[in-house]
């Protein structure tokens, strides 16, 4: 269990790798996600960034905020490009051993559109091959960079510019899809739990093979709440049980600290506490609200089933 003391004692973590002065919106969830991921990973990192807000918020050429190797990439190419970088590290290490190539981490940092929609083929390929990469999806639940269009990660009922009456379908469960690929590590994070982000990235770094981490990253302009409430939104998503924090190591599911007690339905806040604070759910019908609540309860039942199954 990582505590603040661990972070303070970590010289790498005390430094900033995603520098201030970048072009993120105030209260950007992505910024917090990237900042804490990099505190765990440090400079021996090569990051592939497929099309997303991240391409823009790093700064307009020639200014740039990442203080680590960072390469912009085509939308659907994230996982494959990171795989190529990882293969190059291996080839380099073979030819020039002892120069630290084996310590380099290849990571793809993509949005939910680049992960759950256009990039899922490449991601599935990398997972099936067990490519030695960390694939991160920062999930703000829509195409925010292009102006808030729905993605397959947009939740049921949410208004976007392409779902003007609310999205009919539920959010695609990509962590479950990744777990079905039987990769060595799958984890979910939330920007409201930075120490959990730090711990999970440290763990991912230590594991050989394909690692998938999805970070819940609220978006003030996209969701319609005040910038200072980003952490609160992420926290409410966890407390309502809408976003479940867990990790799956070699197929074994473990709930993370903030989600552990929520196995008991009475400990979960009702979903209205979460949706009522965001304009994207404005005018949501009673029926939709009930459907969302039922979905959450169902998701938890599946989690409980799996935990029981594992303990047998």
């Amino acid at each position: 269990m990582v505590t603040l003391k661990n972070v303070i004692e970590d010289e790498i973590a005390l430094q900033e790798w995603f520098l201030p002065g970048n072009s993120c919106c105030a209260g950007c969830g992505l910024e917090i996600a990237l900042r804490w991921a990099m505190k765990a990973l440090g400079p021996n990192t090569a990051m592939i960034t497929p099309a997303s807000c991240l391409n823009v918020v790093i700064g307009l050429w020639p200014k740039t905020a990442p203080n680590f190797s960072q390469f912009n990439m085509a939308f659907a190419a994230g996982a494959a490009a990171a795989t190529g970088v990882s293969a190059a590290f291996k080839a380099k290490d073979y030819k020039f051993p002892g120069q630290g190539w084996d310590e380099m981490v290849s990571i793809c940092f993509a949005g939910d559109g680049g992960t759950t929609d256009i990039g899922i083929q490449g991601l599935s390929g990398a997972a099936e091959r067990n490519s030695n990469i960390i694939y991160v999806c920062y999930d703000n639940e829509a195409y925010m960079n292009t102006g808030i269009q729905r993605s397959s990660s947009t939740p049921h009922g949410a208004l976007t510019t392409t779902t003007p009456f609310g999205k009919e379908r539920f959010k695609k469960n990509v962590p479950a899809i990744m777990a079905a690929h039987e990769i060595p590590y799958v984890a979910t994070c939330s920007i409201s739990e930075p120490l959990d982000i730090y711990e999970k990235f440290k763990k991912a770094k230590s594991i050989e093979g394909c690692k998938y981490i999805q970070i819940f990253a609220p978006c003030p302009p996209g969701w319609g709440y005040l910038a200072e409430d980003s952490i609160e939104m992420a926290r409410l998503a966890v407390k309502t049980g809408f976003w479940i924090l867990y990790e799956i190591v070699d197929g074994v599911l473990t709930l993370s600290k903030k989600s552990k007690s929520l196995v008991d339905p009475s400990k979960r806040l009702p979903i209205i506490e979460y949706v009522s604070k965001q304009k994207r759910f404005a005018g949501i019908s009673e029926k939709t609200l009930i459907e969302i609540q039922e979905r959450i309860d169902n998701d938890w039942e599946k989690i409980v089933d799996q935990l029981e199954c594992q303990s047998k």
């Binding site: 390469f71 190529g84 190059a88 080839a91 083929q121």
Partner: protein
Amino acid sequence: MTKVELTDFVQNKETQIIKGNVAAANAAKSARVQVISAYPITPQTTVVEKLSEFVDGGYMPGTQYIKMESEHSVMAATVGASMAGTRTFTATCGQGLFYMYEMIHWAAGVRLPIVTAIVSRGTAPPWNIWADFSDVISCRDTGWMSSFCATHQEIYDEILMSYKVCEDYDVLLPKFVAYGGFILSHTSKPVIIEDQDKVDGYLPALPDEKGWPHIWVDPERPLMHGNLIMPSGFYTEFRMKLHIALLEAKEKIKNAAKEFEKVFGRSYGNGLIQEYNMDDADVAMLAYGDLALQMEEAVDQIRKEGYKVGMVKLRHFRPFPTEEIIKLGKKVKVLGVIDRAIAFGSQTGGPVSGEVKTALHETEGTAKVFPMMNGIGGREVSLEQQKNQLKLLVKFNETGELPKDMIYGTYWDGLLEVK
């Protein structure tokens, strides 16, 4: 043109009777490529199969072979591996090349020395898997260099020469090495697989660097690449420099061919074009790919009939050998251009014939261009047909007469009757 004689086979233990695709795989092995990323597509498949044997069988120690789930991912991984400073190789064609098209632009935009074999095939629909260079030529404006091979040996040789050119710090561009599907890929011929030391001398392994002069992975020198750039930024200039680099690669291509001849004893003209019986030719045919090889025989036979015909093999399509074509235009009276690719709706319908016309349009007293088209979708082109094509050039030169059944200024040879 390079002819591997049987005596070479007997004398040189390194000569193998192999398929064109196996020659390509051997070239990647000889070049000591470090990362291969590939996805199977007919008729490229035996390239990736042979490479799997080489890598998984331990004949290419240290080489990483990523067996990809799609061509888009193939080029993405190749770009990733090349950015980190490794020598990379892949092969594809037709639909596969079209599927990776976005990443083709990316590879050139990052200025990466990626060599890609294109086992050219027809474009669907309808499905067609036979020789047709429309695939590689449709990547004309992507910033890649592209060349055509006429023989099995040339596939092996051209891939080695390509790395030499691509990795030159003044060039740093990717390159297609194209050859006709099935005609070269699936037939077997003697090919000299050069001694590894000799290849290493011509094409040394990459030095111990963190990457290339313009892109690298080095925690001590963190680098970003590809950030959004405003219209007022250097976007235009980056693109212009890519254009200039492509044009200036011509000298490097010539040098690479010259040095190749010195080391290995096989000549490929000046690298950009290769002439055949051109010294006293009145008319000439510009051809490319495997049909250029058969055209040599056609030229020999027509010459026996007393006509002064010659042939020029177009080796590179990008960069386009404009200066060589202008010289050629001054040398002969009629220049036939035979395409095995379609540029729909262009002035001649043939991508190369159109380009040749453009190259010659400001030259006074230049040859008349006679555009021809054949072999689309792998349709057979016989020696008799090629002899007839040459005779049409002679007739046009002597009488000014063109065939009556030209289609919008181009002679389509070997058409079936259509209503």
